[in-house]
């Protein structure tokens, strides 16, 4: 059951977006996030919507699959919407005791909910179209210039790689421990929240112990293979920016400029 969790869900289709350099995609995603916060009216949202839909179409990832990513966040989106409806001052359209819905609140709530949804869909497009390794490589590469000011780019990337590498191993182990405890009468599924939390202790303790043992062995194996940090290290895969990367970035740059223009002028 735990195996169903797919973290960093990569959805390979070999599309134009998949083929882009990871750095391009990371930068574009950043520009996109900035753009979302610049947006100030629904017309600008229309533009963003067209861009996101276009990207999804080009990426060949089914729209349904993309929207599934919103499901775990529906509670947060609804809460945001409701809080905004009630908490914004303005023209009252409906009163319910001390609470009142305002025109401005309705507007603000929809606005925020949309922003959250666009944020999730847009950023998940990054992880769906980029393999975890390409992503870490891209992050390491982008952070490299910040090394002199103390950003440990290589170490961060290495940590991410190892985390990704051990997620399936540890999930498998959790499953195994769980079954072993269940075979001895442990109950993980019934009872109230407190009881359930308590029943997790015999699961987490062995899991942590084993994770530390693994870490210890892995460190030794890495040392045996001459690992000594990022200095003087080469990489097998070299990242290369191509023409399509620059044109993509230019397109997004133009979009961002238009959003800024809309914000200033209207």
């Amino acid at each position: 059951m735990l195996k169903d969790i797919t973290i960093g869900q990569y959805y390979p289709t070999g599309s134009f977006i998949h083929e882009l350099d990871p750095r391009t995609k990371i930068l574009i995603t950043f520009a996109y996030i900035v753009g979302l916060f610049i947006v100030s009216n629904f017309a600008a949202y229309g533009l963003v919507a067209i861009f996101v839909l276009g990207c999804i179409l080009v990426s060949k990832i089914p729209l349904k699959y993309m929207l599934k990513g919103l499901k775990p966040l529906r509670v947060i989106i609804i809460i945001t919407f409701v809080i905004n409806i009630f908490m914004t001052a303005g023209t009252i359209i409906y009163s319910l005791g001390p609470l009142s819905i305002t025109m401005e609140g309705l507007y603000q709530g929809t606005f925020m909910a949309l922003r959250l949804m666009f944020l999730v869909v847009g950023t998940s497009l990054l992880t769906l179209t980029t393999s975890p390794i390409a992503l870490t490589d891209g992050i390491e590469n982008l952070l490299n210039p910040l090394k002199p000011i103390g950003i440990p780019a290589h170490e961060l990337a290495m940590m991410m790689t190892i985390a990704l590498r051990f997620i399936p191993t540890l999930l498998e182990e959790t499953d195994k421990i769980m079954k072993a405890q269940m075979a001895r009468g442990a109950d993980f599924e019934s009872g109230n929240i407190i009881n359930r939390a308590k029943s997790l202790v015999p699961l987490l303790v062995p899991l942590f112990i084993s994770a530390f043992r693994r870490a210890d062995e892995l460190a030794m194996a890495m040392e045996a293979r001459c690992y000594r940090g990022g200095d003087n290290r080469t990489r097998m895969k070299q990242l290369k920016m191509e023409k399509k990367d620059f044109t993509s970035m230019l397109t997004v740059g133009v979009l961002l400029a238009i959003l800024i223009y809309i914000r200033i002028s209207f």
Binding site: P168, A221, M222, E223, Y227, T234
Partner: protein, 278 residues
């Protein structure tokens, strides 16, 4: 022949306030280039501790270890030593670093600062040597234990070592995985002329070695060609070790008064000898 590894009067003790533990007790050992040495002994005999001394993961409390003439106590040479003497560990899961097979094999050469085009070449060569070419782009966690262990071996060969130390590489594998790994190890020794130090507690794996070393409580208690060592069935049993099944059978037959040589190691030899009996 050239000496690959020299262990000179090495003592290693990790005693603390509560108890005194001497894992290695005045051990002297030499391994020649191209040799296939098997070290056996049960848990706590010090065999893994010895293995970790051979590529400077541990440093001796007393005495010296040198690899191709380089002393492991020399901190400047430590990376050179680890490149010459690679190591494969017991748990295949805990020595694979990357999420894709080829990336993991590239890990060692990347650490050595080899240029990208050559790394790609080395990765292909290594995968070919361990017969895992079709798994190049797979995720390691989807492979079987034997396959993972072969990937770990490929990762070590990609660093072009002269010597590989195997620390119980088959202990966590099923019989078929064990067979794959042993086949690979033998191939490395025969075809790539890599010096092999293989630590195990499966006696059958020691039969084809050039030399067998038996360890007990931090000491080397028996040493010699597999035939010499395994013919001492009583002594090995005293140490709590098994002998290969066929040797055991021969031993029992001899005790029953059947005229057989003491040093039968394989089923084929047994058949040959039994057929010649009158």
């Amino acid at each position: 022949m050239l000496k690959m590894i020299e262990v000179d009067k090495v003592t290693y003790d990790y005693s603390n306030n509560e108890q005194e533990v001497i894992a290695l007790n005045d051990i002297t050992l030499e391994v020649k280039q191209g040799e296939f040495v098997v070290i056996i002994g049960h848990n706590g005999s010090g065999k893994s501790t010895l293995a970790k001394h051979l590529n400077a993961l541990l440093l001796p409390t007393e005495g010296d270890v040198s690899v191709k003439g380089l002393n492991t106590k020399d901190e400047d040479k430590i990376w050179e030593i680890r490149q010459i003497a690679g190591m494969v560990f017991q748990n295949p899961d805990n020595q694979i670093v990357a999420t894709i097979v080829e990336e993991d094999i590239a890990f060692g050469p990347e650490n050595l600062g080899i240029k990208p085009s050559e790394i790609i070449e080395r990765v292909s060569d290594s995968l070919k040597t361990v017969d895992m070419e079709e798994f190049r782009h797979k995720a390691p966690h989807l492979l079987s234990g034997g396959q993972k262990q072969r990937i770990a071996i490929a990762g070590v060969i990609a660093m072009r070592p002269n010597c590989i130390i195997f620390d119980e590489p088959t202990a966590m594998l099923d019989p078929s995985g064990r067979k794959e790994v042993i086949k690979t190890i033998k191939k490395l020794n025969k075809e790539e002329q890599i010096t092999i130090i293989h630590i195990t507690h499966f006696m059958e794996e020691a039969v084809d070695a050039d030399r067998v070393i038996v360890m007990e409580a931090g000491d080397i208690v028996l040493e010699g060609a597999p035939r010499e060592v395994f013919s001492q069935v009583e002594r090995l049993k005293e140490l709590g070790l098994d002998v290969p099944q066929v040797t055991e059978l021969a031993h029992q037959l001899i005790q029953e008064g059947i005229d057989l040589p003491h040093d039968i190691l394989t089923v084929d030899e047994m058949v040959m000898n039994l057929c010649q009996l009158k």
